[in-house]
């Protein structure tokens, strides 16, 4: 007979995470946990350390101390490309796509096969790859732009393309940094629709300022302030937390 309940298996466990840049602690003793299939939104005022948290998880910035466990693996010891291979995908704030390549080639490069030097020399564009690229292109509204150069896309389309490049990697944890920033209203609606579709069957960590958007998608919200957690919980709880109202929502 089991006594009590077994500890829950978290997909991502961030514990006592600290990073300091020349003495300034951008993230200070931060701990939070993300469950399987959970959509977690991180909000907070400018300079709260939101983007730094994503940088730390994906390996772009090295932690000063603390641990990041993803499915039991310690990410702080891995290199960026190894972290991607364990199943973490990251979208940057400004669209980072390959403008000299076509939309098709952008998606193809992100397809998770032939990732070593010689693997990529031997990589074949077979039916599986083509089908997957087309499938993803349809999802991100770019099916008829596959052969266009990525440089020709609009800002919103570039954002979608980058989301598509993550999607084709099929990560277990998807990290999005302000996915709707700089988009027109109609693009925003489409993006929300897109995100709602792709967040199924995976955990998502989103940084976003658009409160309407946050309310729509968040299961749980984490409010960061000066590198520490100010409040955490459902949107309703966070919205009514006097500390949060004071530093962030009140403005």
């Amino acid at each position: 007979m089991l006594i009590g309940h077994q500890p829950k298996e978290f997909l991502l466990a961030v514990e006592a995470l600290t990073v300091s840049f020349d003495g300034f602690k951008a993230v200070n003793d931060l701990s939070f946990y993300v469950e399987e299939n959970e959509i977690r939104v991180i909000i907070g005022p400018n300079g709260a350390g939101k983007t730094t948290v994503l940088d730390l998880i994906c390996g772009k910035t090295k932690a000063t101390s603390g641990s990041i466990q993803f499915r039991g693996k310690e990410l702080t010891k891995l290199r960026e490309n190894e972290i991607v291979q364990t199943g973490v995908g990251r979208k940057f704030q400004t669209p980072s796509i390959f403008e000299d390549l076509t939309v098709f080639e952008n998606l193809e490069i992100s397809y998770p096969r032939g990732r070593t030097v010689f693997g990529s020399l031997a990589f074949k564009r077979d039916a599986v790859v083509m089908d997957r690229v087309e499938e993803v292109a349809e999802m991100i509204f770019l099916k008829d732009r596959l052969r266009a150069s990525a440089a020709e896309l609009s800002h919103g389309q570039k954002q979608w393309l980058e989301i598509g490049m993550l999607l084709i990697q099929n990560p277990d944890l998807l990290m999005l940094d302000e996915p709707v920033a700089g988009m027109s209203v109609s693009e925003r609606v489409k993006t929300a629709e897109l995100l709602n579709r792709i967040i199924k069957d995976r955990s998502v960590l989103v940084i976003e300022h658009d409160m309407k958007f946050v309310e729509d998608i968040a299961h749980k919200v984490t409010v960061l302030h000066q590198g520490q957690i100010l409040s955490e919980g459902t949107m309703d709880r966070v919205k009514n937390d006097p500390k949060v109202i004071e530093v962030y929502l009140g403005h």
Partner: protein, 404 residues
Amino acid sequence: MSLRQQEQEGQEQEGQEQESKVMVINSRFFNRSELIGFVTLALLLFVILPLALDIFRLNLVAKYLTYAFVALGLVLCWGFGGILSLGQGVFFGLGGYCMAMYLKLEASSVANTKIQSTPGIPDFMDWNQITQLPLFWKPFHSFPFTLAAIILVPAFFALIIGAAMFKRRVGGVYFAIITQAIAAILTILIVGQQGYTGGINGITDLRTLHGWDIRTDHAKLILYFVEVVLLFGCILLAQFIRLTKLGRILVAMREQEDRVRFSGYSVANFKIFAFCAAAVFAAIGGALFTLEVGFMSPSFVGIVPSIEMVIYTAVGGRLSIFGAVYGTLLVNFAKTSLSETFPQLWLFGLGALFIAVVLAFPAGLAGIWADYVQPRIDRLFASRRPKSGNGWTGPSVADGAPAE
């Protein structure tokens, strides 16, 4: 494009998918303009130049073409991968010295060197009071070993430099400066170790390759054709690399290194590969240089020749495999004719040419061709065959890349 879509709209969903797949696959080994470039170059090098030039001038062309191998490597490494190496002379020299060591040992038989105090070793060693063949020279008695060394020594050296730099994320200008420093160091080393390397004079008085006299006119003609065949081999290899996913990753890396990293690739490994490939191409050129010209010296290793090699590539067009070959030939012809007339002015001219190309024509001669000549040819084809289907030719990997 829009026409294409209208056509497609009328078709069934399945047929539409089929066709778009075929069109996306459309990756023939050469597209039409590349095929024209390939055939033109083959005609020029295999037929026109050998018929038009006497053996002295043809040998000059052969000498120029050895630099085309280096330029080809730079197209891969600098043009596609964005890794500017100002030290390709190092690899050119390593290949050249490997070949020269073999030829020198063959020329230094006991019979040929019986007047020396130690017969059977290269003459410059004897002059430097060395009485025994150094250990690292010994394997170069073997021709197969020499051929392997020409490829493997520079590749290994590039691997070490590449791993040391790229794994530490050293890139861009810093990498260029370090490669330049390495070129300077190697020159100083070769000049300083006169007894082992022949010093500033280099390794001279080379006579036979595997018993075959390389100094006759007939041999020079044969060597020219061997070289051109090897050049086309390297061109095809470079084109193959360009068309694989690795080629596209190199281009992707040039502009968004982080995105490549966060797509699960080890950027350092891809850079190391490009750098090693460029080194091997340069080394093949260097080995052929030794054969064609009959000696090897540190003046082909240092900073100045290394930068000249970059200029050949820039003038020809650093994104164009064929452009690199034409650029090398043109700059070298200009160098030969102008440096005789204006020996002092030539270096300034070369510098000015480099600046002019970078500022005004970042894609070099190949860019000028693509912008002004190619459209006319295309129109010609289009007017002749108005219904030449398959109107879409995919933008090639590097077309229209911005200058850096």
